[in-house]
């Protein structure tokens, strides 16, 4: 394996959790709900997935536990903001703080333990393609799922009727209600999808990226995922592009630092953020498309009058 391949492999590993968390939050936000608790749900997923893997010995059960943990945790957010109509921003921030705290508790017994790394699934034939094969077809299941989710969500939002309903609710929840669409129920599902994706992203961190449990191991990735959704103007392919761009620049700057290039390390560390923001602003310069894609009801509470 050449050095380029090795670097690209680490890029994929770094980008996958961002793509997963962003695609989930994208669906949540398309339904008009702003869940700022991505970081909390992600770190919960990481802790639960690691604990479940340690207890059962199976990383696959760990993944499922991480997904379920993220979804259940988001349900708390859903209950507070959708049923009790609490402020979404404040509740999301609280969810992050709570998630960081609880995950520390859950992970406490496992600090310092070496985990079980999720093994790659080799896809026959395709993995024999030179260069691309080992990169794309000798990966763990979470990578495959992340790509499938981007394709699936894109199809779901823009081709399926249920996706149309989600976009309609995000655009104008009052009209959607008047048409007989179940606004609250749909938003619950969208929030839980976001939670499940964030949980899966967390599981990737503690089972693939660094197979161990470290407190606060999400390390701000939830916030980056949130920013990616906005800069990608709520479109799945751009989330994928943004996630990989961010991953690529953050890995390259690590290598640059290791080589000891004469650029201050603080600047290099900031580079992924700058690069991602610049590129995504450039691709979303078409203001009309951005306006069409921005959920008009984002963050607004919905109370049906009855």
């Amino acid at each position: 394996m050449g050095i380029v391949e090795a670097i690209l492999l680490t890029v994929i590993t770094a980008a996958t959790p961002l793509v997963l968390a962003s695609i989930g939050e994208l669906v949540t936000e398309r339904s008009g709900v702003l869940n700022l608790g991505v970081e909390g749900m992600m770190v919960m997923g990481a802790a639960i997935a690691f604990a479940a893997t340690q207890i059962t010995g199976s990383p696959y059960i760990g993944i499922l536990a991480g997904i379920a943990g993220g979804a259940l945790f988001s349900l708390l957010f859903g209950f507070l903001t959708l049923t009790l109509v609490a402020n979404q921003v404040a509740t999301g921030l609280a969810l992050t703080i709570l998630g960081l705290g609880i995950s520390g508790q859950i992970g406490e017994p496992y600090v310092g333990m070496s985990g079980t790394k999720l093994q790659p699934i080799v896809i026959p034939l395709l993995s024999d393609i030179p260069f691309l094969g080992p990169l794309l077809f000798k990966q763990d299941i979470i990578f495959y799922v992340s790509i499938a989710l981007v394709i699936g969500v894109n199809w779901f939002l823009f081709k399926s009727r249920a996706g149309l309903k989600i976009r309609a609710i995000g655009d104008n929840h009052g009209s959607a209600h008047a048409l007989g669409i179940h606004v609250i129920r749909t938003r619950y599902l969208a929030v839980m999808f976001g939670g499940a994706c964030a949980g899966l992203a967390g599981a990737q961190l503690s089972l693939v990226y660094t197979p161990q449990w470290v407190e606060n191991m999400s390390a701000g990735r939830g916030w980056i995922a949130l920013a990616l959704v906005v800069f990608a103007s709520w479109r799945p392919w751009r989330v994928l592009a943004g996630g990989y761009l961010f991953g690529a620049v953050s890995i390259s700057q690590l290598h640059a630092q290791a080589f000891g290039i004469g650029i201050p390390s603080q600047f290099l560390s900031a580079l992924p953020y700058i690069a991602t923001v610049v590129v995504l602003i450039l691709i979303s310069h078409n203001r009309r498309m951005t306006q069409i894609n921005t959920p008009a009801c984002l963050g607004k509470p919905f109370v049906p009058d009855r």
């Binding site: 009727r161 976009r167 959607a176 048409l179 007989g180 669409i181 306006q291």
Partner: protein, 523 residues
């Protein structure tokens, strides 16, 4: 689409003793209503008379507190809009329930039963839209369409359900006279197919022209049921308002005072993708004049108001001048200090902060222009609550603002009463220049006449008044001069008595380029 068979004997829809209570307040109180098959039935009433509440109950948006709804003689419970559509009731809302970010076809698909593919919806929608003379491009985004086109979507969406009863809420308030005529043709076609129409309006002339019967509501009760063609506008208005509506006495036209407001070659590029650019707008309003700007919604009225009021100042200072001084690059407060007053279009959230009491809304608008009166403590700017309250009370009394309590939240007032307050708030200063955008949009007849009279009186007292309106009745009532805005260009202004509705209609649609309504938007 097959004709709908007329049922004999029992009416298509009957409402018996229907009541809706909000707390102890009866929005609808023992309403009785019969709609026969194949009739166009008018529902008349002022704002707050209970029309919308009644219609929402018929369409399953609100649940009645008591009473019965009978559909073809059988008692039904309409629990949701979906249930209403299933039994055969379609609805075209006044404030369109469309999704701006979605395409026409997607909007239509959302209201259909599942299992129909999007392409099939698009096909069926274009077929229906042509059948009923309502041309539409299924792939256009709603955000790019005119209000008239949006209404067509609503109508086609309702028609796709093959309804036996179609409810239209104030459908012509946003249309040109020509577009309204097209709508009436569509309604006549629906009627000829045996469908019924419940037509909600406050335009008496229209109701007399197209409706077979009328039910009049006031304060949540039925105050009359009649054949509108056998009534006079005055007698209908009496049933609606409970007393004669004062007719507005127009301002004199012979006074040729100084030019107090002027726009010179005002050109503004469009701020957002959905906005209209202003192209070389020139206008003059003299002391004693009311210049009314007619036009169909979305032709640059909002942008013109923004530029004239200073909500979005322009680069060229001389493009707008107030009392002879260049003001184009100044903000709204500076222009207020020069003696101008402004009433923007939206009452809620723009002209007034709905959650704040009226007195606070008064201070917010006039804290700079009336700084000495309303604020104390120099730079500290402490609000003199007592003074503000007295001023607020004076405004409410002058404009006959009806409200619950001394100083309620702005949002708790009905639309008409809040509008009277925010117009009164500016008039109270006796501004030399007043610019009003849609002064009586969605306001009941009584309040509208009060507001129009106040505008005319202000002009008579020597101010220059500019009114932007879509309502031609209103324009002819108040204006001394009329200009028409179309696609961001303003026509010359003509003396009001030289213009007819037809001429204005032509200026609205056909002055520059294509005839409105002839082609669906070519986006």
């Amino acid at each position: 689409m097959s004709a709908v068979g007329a049922s004999e004997g029992s009416p298509l829809l009957a409402v018996r003793n229907l009541t809706k209570l909000f707390g102890s307040f009866a929005a609808c109180n023992g309403i009785d209503l019969d709609i026969k098959s194949g009739e166009i039935h008018a529902l008349l009433g002022e704002n707050g008379a209970g029309k919308s509440t009644l219609v929402k109950m018929l369409f399953g948006v609100l649940a009645p507190t008591s009473g019965q709804i009978l559909w073809k003689g059988e008692a039904v419970r309409i629990a949701s809009p979906g249930a209403a559509r299933r039994i055969g009731i379609g609805m075209v809302f006044q404030h369109f329930s469309l999704f701006e970010a979605l395409t026409v076809a997607e909007n239509i698909a959302l209201s259909l039963s599942p299992g129909i593919s999007l392409s099939k919806v698009a096909e069926e929608a274009s077929r229906l839209s042509h059948l009923y003379g309502l041309p539409l491009d299924p792939n256009a985004h709603v955000a790019d369409l005119s209000v008239g086109e949006r209404q067509r979507i609503e109508i086609v969406r309702a028609l796709l359900q093959n309804p036996e009863l179609i409810i239209l809420d104030e459908p012509t308030s946003v249309l040109t006279p020509q577009e309204a005529d097209r709508l009436f043709e569509t309604l006549a076609k629906l009627k000829s197919e045996g469908r019924s129409v419940l037509y909600i309006s406050h335009r008496l002339e229209e109701v007399q022209r197209i409706c077979d019967r009328a039910t009049v509501l006031r304060h949540g009760k039925v105050t009359g049921a009649c054949d509108p063609r056998k009534e006079t506008p005055a007698s209908l208005a009496r049933m609606m308002v409970g007393s004669d509506v004062a007719s507005v006495s127009a301002a004199g036209t012979n006074t040729k005072g100084d030019v107090l407001l002027e726009a010179r070659h005002l050109t503004v590029p469009s701020r957002t993708p959905f906005a209209v650019a202003l192209k070389n707008v020139c206008l003059k309003v003299r002391s004693g004049e009311v210049l009314a700007i007619a036009g169909v919604a979305g032709n640059g009225q909002g942008e013109l108001f923004d530029a004239l009021s200073g909500e979005y100042p322009v680069v060229d200072p001389t493009a707008v001048s107030i009392r002879g001084k260049a003001a184009g690059n100044l903000g709204i407060t500076a222009r207020r200090l020069m003696g101008a007053g402004f009433v923007p279009e939206e009452r809620h959230g723009h002209a007034a902060v709905t959650t704040l009491p009226l007195s606070d809304n008064l201070v917010l608008a006039r804290s700079q222009s009336d700084r000495k009166t309303f604020l104390a403590g120099g730079l500290l700017g402490i609000i003199r609550q007592a003074v503000v309250r007295i001023a607020s009370k004076r405004i409410s009394e002058t404009m006959d603002v009806r409200k619950s309590g001394e100083n309620p939240a702005a949002g708790s007032l009905s639309g008409g009463n809040l509008q009277k307050y925010i117009v009164g708030r500016e008039l109270d200063r006796q501004p030399a220049v007043l610019i009003v955008n849609q002064p009586t949009w969605g306001v009941d007849a009584g309040a509208a006449s009060r507001i129009r009279q106040a505008l005319v009186d202000l002009a008579k007292s020597g101010s220059a008044v500019l009114v932007i309106s879509q309502d031609l009745d209103e324009i002819f009532e108040v204006a001394t001069e009329i200009a028409v805005i179309s696609e961001g260009r303003l026509s010359d202004s003509y003396p009001a008595h030289d213009l007819t509705r037809e001429k204005i209609g032509l200026l609205m649609g056909g002055m520059y380029g294509k005839t409105e309504g002839e082609v669906a938007h070519a986006h």
